[in-house]
Amino acid sequence: MTAVTADRTFSASAGERRPVDAHVVVAGLAASYGAGPPALRGVGFEARAGQAIAVLGPNGGGKTTLFRALLGELAAAAGEIAIGGAVAYVPQTERSRLDFPVSALDVALMGAYARTPWYRRVAAADRALARASLARVGLAEHERKRFGTLSGGQRQRVLIARALVQDAGVLLLDEPFAGVDQTSERAIMGILDELRAEGRVLLIATHDVDQARRWDRVLCLRGEQVAYGPPSQTLTNAVLEATYGAEIVMLDCGHRAVAIQHHPH
């Protein structure tokens, strides 16, 4: 049996926008593209409100497949997914069209499109929310700037603001620190910590093992689930070798391990 449930625990029009009980519960999940063999199987984990989960794995390991299944874009071939809160996807910024003439505010407003009827303009409350979300990620003065002219880190923050406009309880972030300078990295870290404190669930796909140590849980994928648990139990040489195989490069006797092959495309 396959079941995907998404309870919207907070309304779009509420003045106080805080997810009440965001959670992600996945059990025995297998997902495939078309009729082919499963691209991902045997995935089961439970993320509670306020938890940030690093999703580690090689290219083709199933990170994107998992995200697409959680977004409901890919039907699960087996298993169950239960999600509390709306799910938003925060892509890598280079994936979007940087030559497209939209401002930071235009991009943030896209988060309100799904709830805007085709015959209406975006509601004034949503415009205010988009402005507030940009201010929250520290980009209030940049709202009129073209998205493509912002730095990588600023663009990443605009996309996080868009997820906030979507009222997401669960944020799926694809390599949020790729191509981001140190100042922006710290700013994004601060924002993500705030979102956790509000009870949102974050899933952060990353190639950076060192970075993964910062989060509450680590999910290791290699076509199937290799491990899930706190960093101290999952970021071990044995687990990382099982996840990355020969791809892993160990530095400083395993204290600084960086998986090679960045930017899956």
Binding site: Y89, S96, R97, D99, F100, A114
Partner: protein, 283 residues
Amino acid sequence: MAILHSGLLQRALLEIVVLGAACGALGVWLLHLRHAYAAESLAHAMLPGLVLASLAGAPLLLGAAGGVLVTAALIALATRDARVGSEIAVGVVVTTAFGLGAVLALSPQVPVGIDRLLFGDLLGTATSDLLTAGGLAVAVGACLAVGHRRLAVAVFDPVSAPSLGVQPPRVELALLALLAIAVVAAVLSLGNLLVFALLVAPAAAAMRVGRSLRAQILLAAGLGSLSGLLGLVASSELDVAASGSVALAAVALYALAAIAAPRTPRGASGARRSPMEALGAPR
């Protein structure tokens, strides 16, 4: 000026201004989605439909619509064969259709000359056809306005689009349908070969100059209308072919924009894409 006194010219002027605005606005989306090749293909491949309609004494608009539908079906069929690239498939279908149209058009039974089908006849088109075409152009503009947000998401961020409530393949299909309607509407006035100028030149000019998406679209619509106006006035004053003058006016306006803003057109960079690739067909 004769254009102010002749009912025929006034009617044609109204028609070309509406058509120019719709084609200009549509063109901005086509260029942002990199569908210029689709625009050219569809316009050329409807020729046999036009010729057959003219042979059968049916309305030319009907022939144009039929030609577009058959072409789309053939392209879909040809791209199913994975060994054939989608661009090659489009190229083969389009040239076959165009060749067939030319052969048919040269038969003595065809009442309308092939030059009229290839280059249009803005001043010789029946009022009912002009009204239908004008109505179609207005409908295309209205659809673009209604679908603006979805189009923007589909172009800007197709990866996240589904989670924002937008399905890019559906949006692109809808845009190609609008393109087909616009081409059908424009083909009688501008002809098979010159429709493309009105779809691409005003949009390319507007994308060089316009800073926001809204500005680009409004500017392209304005430049499209202006091309129609200038072309028609030039045609009536200098006694040259109307559709050719309109196409030349559109390209001249683009040249002015290129001189005024000499940099790469926004969003028009990158590889062109065939219509079927946009529908998710394998490369």
